[in-house]
Amino acid sequence: MTALIGKKLPPDKRNLQMADWLDEIGIDSLMAVEMIFDLEAKFDIQIPFNANDAKLEFETVGEIVAAIKKITGKS
């Protein structure tokens, strides 16, 4: 999953940790929507996300992973 999250990052920054903040590792809004698209396609799920929301539901790599696990029912 972290490989998908880091797909758009430069190769030397793709080794992601759960505690990494998305904005700090360089995932901008455009990368975020592409990342969500990739995750939805990979796990055949719908991730609730609206680019107009002031507060992002996912701010770290770990929060994304936890959310996907919750949606897919895996722990």
């Binding site: 758009k8 929507v33 592409e34 698209f37 939805e40």
Partner: protein, 360 residues
């Protein structure tokens, strides 16, 4: 699909020009536009500092925008029952994307937009850019055209129109059987004479005239009178006597109707001098790149002035009595050309002609 002849950009690999991150928002049409823009700017030697970026216009012709993105979407939605489309679907396919991406890629912050008039798009775009530079609105303009619509759905539309050649494009020839769809981009940097001379630019050619007209008649059948009005207007705007023109880079699509009607239009505009003109169609070699065609052919036109070499109309089998002007059949010809026209006539009856002259 019965007819499969297209003039595609062969062996194109976007990753030779863009990294993975850059290429994601770019449909093929915008990729072509950005590549041509980078080349043109590098060739011009211009840097856009000191406020020039904010004054530089980016005016690009494009007929239909991101057709491969559109086609891929439809395939995913209607055939594969996909639940979602790529998040960059809209910015990829919007028809203004080439101008937006060129402006972003090269830091051009002045007036920027796409002009769409089917096969005449790039000529209209370059003509507008020319008028903006001449009128003092922009000292520099990056202008041209881009098109990439060889997608299955789009080609089925062309097939349905019954105008595609079954084998090849042979403009002005007997037994011509229609057009071949092409793709690509051509971009040029145009400047006011003052701006170009101040920086000792390598001036390739002078754009002097621009003429336009609309048939306001049939949707598809061309109109010699209306084409002739656009030619007359370009000559008049450029202060050129018809006899000053040596070469016409013709619209020459290889349809039965266009080539005969364009011949008639040239006779109306040039009178007896029409017989002295060399006219040729690049579409015999590169196909019809629709919204990019006007830019590709203007580059060929100005290079014939520079090189003293007029491109041929290849695939020519022999004369058609309805196309009895000198179309430079099959072989390029060394001719000194001091002034030339570049014709484009669009479906929907929108005509645009540019006049260029040797700079001296």
């Amino acid at each position: 699909m019965a007819k499969k002849v297209v003039a595609e950009v062969k062996d194109y690999d976007p990753l030779k020009f863009f990294d993975e991150r850059e290429v994601s928002p770019l449909d093929r049409v915008a990729q072509f536009g950005v590549i041509a823009t980078r080349e043109a700017i590098a060739h011009s030697g211009l840097t856009f500092d000191g406020g020039l970026s904010e004054q530089t216009a980016t005016i690009i012709g494009c007929g239909v925008g991101g057709q491969s993105t559109q086609d891929e979407n439809y395939r995913r939605l209607y055939r594969d029952n996909a639940k979602r489309l790529h998040p960059l679907t809209i910015p990829r396919l919007m028809v203004n994307a080439p101008a937006s991406q060129m402006s972003m890629s090269c830091g051009l912050r002045g007036p920027a937009f796409v002009v769409a008039s089917a096969c005449a798009s790039a000529t209209h775009a370059i003509g507008l850019a020319f008028q903006m530079v001449r009128g003092g609105q922009a000292p520099v303009a990056v202008t041209g055209g881009a098109e990439a619509c060889i997608a299955f759905g789009t080609m089925k539309g062309w097939e349905a129109l019954r105008v595609l050649a079954p084998e090849t494009c042979r403009p002005f020839s007997r037994d011509r059987k229609g057009l071949v769809i092409g793709e690509g981009a051509a971009v040029m940097v145009i400047e006011s004479l003052e701006h170009a001379q101040k920086r000792s630019a390598n001036i390739l050619c002078e754009i002097v005239g621009f003429g336009m007209s609309a048939d306001a008649g049939d949707l598809l059948s061309p109109d010699a009178g209306s084409m002739g009005r656009a030619i007359d207007a370009a000559l008049k705007y450029g202060g050129l006597e018809p006899s000053a023109i040596r070469y016409v880079n013709a619209h020459g699509t290889s349809t039965a109707a266009n080539d005969a009607t364009e011949t008639e239009a040239l006779k109306r505009a040039f009178g007896a001098h029409a017989k002295n003109l060399a006219i040729s169609s690049n579409k015999s070699m590169i196909g019809h790149a629709l919204g990019a065609a006007g830019a590709l052919k203007l580059v060929a036109t100005l290079m014939s002035i520079r090189e003293g070499l007029v491109p041929p109309t290849i695939n020519y089998l022999g004369p058609d009595p309805a196309c009895d002007l000198d179309c430079v059949p099959n072989e390029a010809r060394a001719i000194r050309v001091d002034a030339a026209l570049s014709n484009t006539f669009a479906f929907g009856g929108l005509n645009a002609v540019l006049a260029v002259r040797r700079f001296s």
